[in-house]
Symmetry: D3
Subunit: 251 residues, 6 copies
C-alpha cells in the first residue's frame, strides 16, 4: 500500500517533518511518500494562503494519479485545503488532517479543544467543524499565537507556547482530549502529550491511519454523484495544463 | 463609486453578460467594470473548478487594488469561490453572488428554493447555506441539469429547462421566492420571473446592490481579526508574484 | 424612490434622530420620510413593549399604503417588531434594523458581537439570531445597561457606557465587527467606530440601504405563499379599522 | 386553583368551545374561566392577525391580574401570540397551546406531525418549533386548508378534511403522534383520534394540564432576568391605559 | 390515578426521599408508589451506572405492568436511564425527571442552568439536552462536585455546596431558573429556592405532574411506530425472564 | 495487536458472521477474537433490546480487561449499545459500528443514506446521527423491513430486500454512499456493493480498521474527565459482580 502525503505548503523541511511522523506510525506494509507543490506559499496562515495551496494540492494529486501506484492521499494542512477538489480527481481516498484529527478525537473522548498556531486561523477550523458536524464536540479553539514556520525555526519556544496553551485547555475547558491544529506539530505529539497528560490527537498520523483503513476496506472516493471526476474542459493561462484532463481508468 | 465584478471563470462572453446585467441595475453614480482571470476554467462546475478559480479571483482583487480606485468587488460565481481569501486582500467590501442572493431572498420571503445548473454543484450551495446560516430558509436545491456554458451556447433550451424547474419549485416546495444558482443566468432574471410568477432573486445584481450599500454606509471589510491582510511571505513557482505582497494603505 | 422609516416607539425625538441618520446616507434619488405610531410605548424595552409597538408598525404600513407612493419600509427598532405582519400588508419590501445589521455585519466580518441597551432585551436579539440563522456568527450579546431614552436624555453618559462595552467586545470576543443593538444609537455610529477602531454596523442605515437595494432590483415582498395579504375579516373594538382591509392593487 | 383561558381571537363561540374542552379535563379542584379580547380579529390566520391579537392577550392578562385570583393563564391560539409579553405581566405561569402540545407530544412519541388549518400559517408553527427546540421532533407540518372559522361554521366538512390529512400524516410521515394545530379543534380531539388510531395531542387541554402542573409545583414565571415586569413608562393614544402599569405585588 | 416512581438506583433511602417529595405535591386523587430495582448500583454517576440501571428500570416497568393498575411511571434519575426502553414496555406514559425538569424550566424562563452532582455526569445532561432539543435553552451545566450519596450521608455539606453553585449560576449565567440535576435533591427544592431567590425546578415533582397531566388527558405512550411493544424473542442467561414477553392488553 | 469484537446479541451464528467479516479485512499483525454476552436478547430490534444488551457489552469488556491482552474493542450492533459505558471500563479504544460506518462514509462521499433492517430501529440511528454530529450528512434512513435474524435464517430473501432498498437509495436520495445499518449484514458488503454500484460502508469492518488505527496511533480512551473509570461502589442482586470493580492498571 502506497500512501502519498501532500504537504500543501512549499517548505521542504515541513514535508520532511510530516513524512517522518507518518513513517514512524505506518503499518509495515505501507509505503509512505511525501511531496509538496512546486508553487505556493511557504506556510499557510490565512484564507488566501489556503486558496493558493488548494491548487497545489490538486496538482499533486494529479501527479500522483499519473504515477499510477498511489492508494490514498493525505492533505497535510489543518485547514484541509482543496480537500473536496482533490477527491474529485481520484478514486483513491483523500483524507484531510483536520477531519482526521476530529474523527479520532471523538472516538476517545466526548469533548475536545483545538490548539492551533495563529488565532486568525481559528475561523478556518470553526468552519470545518461546522461543515463536518463536530461543532458541539469542540469546546474551544485556542491559539498559541506562533507563526507556522516558528515550528521549524524556533522549535523550543514554539513547543513551550503550545504546551502552555494545551495545559490551559486541560485545566479550563472540561475536555478529554486535545487536537493539535497544525501539520507542522506532527513530530511533537508525544512530547506534548507527555507534558499535558491528556490524549493528544495529531492529524497527520490520524489521516495516515484513516487512509490505510479505507484502502484496507476496499473503499474508494465515491464517483457516484457530486465527487465524480470533473467534467473535462479548457483551462487557460498558467492553468492550461488542467485542460481536458484524462483521468486514469477506474482501478 | 466604482464596483468591480469578477467573473471567476475565463469565458469573456459570460463576463459581458454579467456586466450588462449589473449595469442595467447600477445606481447612476456607480461605475461598473468587469474582469475575468487570465488563467482558469472556462466554466465552474466542480470543487476542482472552484479551487482553481479562487486563485483567479484573488489575482483579480490584487489587480484591482493596484489600480487603486475600486470601492467594492463582486465575486460572480454562485459557489462564492475564494470569497474569504479575497476579503483578506482588501479593505473594500467583497460580496459573493450566492450569499447576496440568499440574503436578499430572506428579506422578501420566509422560505426559498435554489435552481442551479448541474446537480453535482448542489453540494457547494448546501455547504454555503450551512456556513452562512440559511439552511433552514432553503426548502430545496434543484438542478436544471444543464452545463453552465449552455447558458451561452444554447440559451433557448437552457431557459426552457430552467423555467421548467422553477415552476416545479413553485408548485411543490412551499416557497415564496426562487434563487437562481448561477451567475450566467444574470440576464434571464426578469424573463424567468415573468414565466414563473414568483419573485426571482439573482445573485449578480443582488451583490452589486449590497456592494453599493456597504460603500454607501462607509463600511469596509474588517481588518481586525481573521480577515486582516495576509501575513507577507514567500510564494514559489508560478505563484511567486504573491510573495511579500505590499498591500495598498488603508483608505 | 421613497422610503418610509417607521420608528416603532412614540418618541418623536427618536424619530428625528433616525430620520437624520438615514438622510445622511440615502442615495440622492431617495426620499426619506419617518413616522411613529399614534399610539404605543415611548420606548421599547420588553416583549410587552414589542407586542404593542407591532400594532403601531402595522398601522403605519397601512397608512403608507394609503398614501400610495412608498417604495419600501424600514422598521427601526432592534427587535424587528411586527416585521412579518408588516410584510403581509404590502408588496413593498419591509426591512427590520436588526436583520439589516446582522446581514451587513456578516458581509464584512466572520464573527460579530452585539452591544444593546438593557440586558433584558438580549433574549429578543437571541431569538432573532436563531430565526434568521445568524446564531453562530454572533459571539456575544452585550448590554450597556442604559434605558433606551437615556440615549436622548443623557447622551454623553450613554455614549460613554456604549463605547466602554464596545471596547470590551473588541478586546474579549474575538470579533471583526460590532452591531449596535438599538435604533436610538443611529446617530452615534461614526463616533463609536472612531473610539473603538472596529467596523460598527448600525441597523437604521443598513436597513435603508437594503431597502434601496431591493427597490433597485425590482424585488417586492412575495405575495406567493405565507406572506400574502391577510385574509380580510372583521376586527372588533379599537382595532375595528382593520376590518375587511382593502389593500392597494399590485403595483 | 383558577386557570384563565384566553382565546386570542374575538369569536365568543370559539371561546366557549375552548372552555368546554378544558372543563371536561380540568382537575376537580380547578376552576376554569375563559375570555376573549374586547378588540381584535375574529380569527387568527396570519402574522398580522397574530400581532394584533397579542395586544388583546396582554390586555386580558392585565385584567386577570386586576381580578387578582388567577393562578395561571393559557393562551389558546396555536401561534402562541404574545406569549412572552404575557409572561412579563404576571408571576403566574402562562402557557401557550402550541408549546404545550409540542411538549406533550414529545413525551409519548419520538416524532410527530402537525395538522393545522391554512398552509400559510405553517411558517408560524415552524418558527415556534425552532425557538422552542422541537424542529427535529416534527416530521411535517400539514394543512387541511380550511379557514379557522369553518371549524365553527362548517364543522362536518372541516372535521372530514382534518381527519383526511391526519390519516395521510399517519401513513406517510413515520410518526407516533399528531399535534392539532388550532385551538378551535379542541372539541374534536377524541373523534379525530378515534378515526386515525394514533395519539392526538391538542393544545388547549395540554396547556391546561401544564398550567395545573406548574401551579401545583409552586413554580411561577421567573421575575429574575428577561421576563421581569416591564419597566413602567408612558404609552400613548389608544394604548394609554398601559402607561405606568402598577402590577400586583408578588404573591 | 396510580403513579409509580422508579428510583433507578438501589438505595432505599433515596427511594423514600423521592416518594416523600412526590407525595407532598401529588393531586388528592393520585396514589404515589415508589420502587427501586432488585439489582443495580447504589448510585448513578457514570454511563456504566446508567447502563446497568436501565435494565432495572425496565424490570420495574414490567413488574408494574403485571400489577396492572399503574397509570404512569416516573424514571427518577436525572440521566433518564432506560427511558425509551421503558416506553416500549407499556402503554402508560413514562416520564424522565431530566426531561420533565427541562420542559418545566422552559415554561417559566427563557434560559436556565443545571446544577448537578459530579462534573463527570454533565455530559449525560448535555446529550439529553441535544436529543430533546433544549441545548439553546440551557446556559451552563454546573457541578457541585459531590457524590450522589452525600445527599443522604452528608446532607448539610451537600446542601451548602449546591446552594453555593446555584448562587454562582444566578449571578454569572444570565438565567431565569435553575434545574436541579439529581433525583436525590428532590427534598431540597424549596430550601434551595429560598436561599437562591430564583425559581428552582426539580425533576421528580415535575415528572409527577407531567405524568398526572398525560393521564388526565387520556394520552398514552404511542404504540404506533418506533415505541411499539418490543418484538417477543428469546433472551438468555440472567435475562431469560425477558423471553417472549406477553405484555398486557391495551387498556 | 488483539482486537475483540463484541456481538451485543447472544446469537452465536451472528458472532461468527461478524468475526469472519473482520478477519478477512484485519491487518496481518492483528488478532481478531469475537464474543457475545452470556445473557441477553438473540437479536436487537428495539430500545429495550438495546438497553439489555448494553449490560452484556459492559460485561464482555470487563472480561476482556481481566484477560488483559486486548488492545481495542468493537461493539458490533448498529445502535452502538453501551458504547460510552464500555469506554469508561477500559483505557483501550472502544468503537461502535454505527459511528465507524458514519465516519468512514463521510470520508468518501458528501452525503449518504442508511439501509437498516426494521423501520422501528430508524429512530436509534437518527439519535446517534444527532449525537455524533452527522445528521446533515445523512439524506435518509431506509428500512428493508426484515427482522434481524432473517439475515441468518432467510439470507437470500433478506439480501434481495436489502439490495432493493439500496437501489432506491441510490436512485432517489442524491447520495454518494450507502451505510448498512446492521452488524448482521457484515458478510454481504461486497455482494451488495456489486449489485448497487455505489460504495457500501459496513460498520464491523469499519470499526475494526478504526480500532487498528487508534491502537497504531497509541491513542487510548481518555481517562481524563467524563470517560474516567466509574467510581467503585456496591452493586446489588444479579449485578453484584460489578461491585467495587478493581480495574486493571494503566497500560
Amino acid at each position: 500500500m502506497h500512501i502519498r502525503l501532500i504537504n500543501p505548503n512549499t517548505t521542504a523541511a515541513m514535508t520532511a517533518t510530516i513524512r517522518q511522523a507518518a513513517e514512524q506510525l505506518a503499518a509495515p506494509s505501507t509505503t509512505v511518500s511525501a511531496t509538496q507543490p512546486d508553487a505556493g506559499p511557504v506556510s499557510i496562515e490565512s484564507h488566501f494562503d489556503e486558496a493558493v495551496s488548494a491548487v497545489g494540492v490538486a496538482e499533486e494529486v494529479l501527479k500522483g494519479e499519473r504515477e499510477g501506484n498511489i492508494d490514498a492521499y493525505v492533505v497535510a494542512c489543518f485547514g484541509d485545503p482543496g480537500l473536496l477538489a482533490a477527491r474529485e480527481l481520484t478514486r483513491a481516498p483523500v483524507i484531510g488532517i483536520a477531519e482526521a484529527a476530529f474523527h479520532m478525537a471523538t472516538l476517545i473522548s466526548t469533548r475536545f479543544s483545538i490548539v492551533t498556531t495563529l488565532g486568525r486561523t481559528g475561523i478556518i477550523a470553526e468552519h470545518l467543524l461546522e461543515q463536518y458536524g463536530f461543532s458541539h464536540h469542540c469546546r474551544r479553539i485556542r491559539a498559541a499565537e506562533i507563526p507556522v514556520l516558528d515550528l521549524e525555526d524556533h522549535p523550543d519556544a514554539a513547543f513551550s507556547r503550545i504546551v502552555q496553551e494545551c495545559c490551559r485547555a486541560r485545566d479550563e475547558d472540561g475536555i478529554g482530549a486535545i487536537v493539535l491544529g497544525c501539520g507542522g506539530m506532527a513530530n511533537l505529539t508525544h512530547a506534548i502529550s507527555h507534558e499535558v497528560g491528556l490524549p493528544v490527537v495529531e492529524g497527520v498520523s490520524a489521516a495516515l491511519k484513516l487512509a490505510e483503513s479505507l484502502v484496507g476496506l476496499g473503499l474508494h472516493t465515491s464517483k457516484f454523484g457530486d465527487l465524480d471526476y470533473p467534467r473535462p474542459k479548457p483551462y487557460t493561462g498558467k492553468f492550461a495544463d488542467f485542460s481536458n484532463l484524462t483521468l486514469p481508468p477506474t482501478r
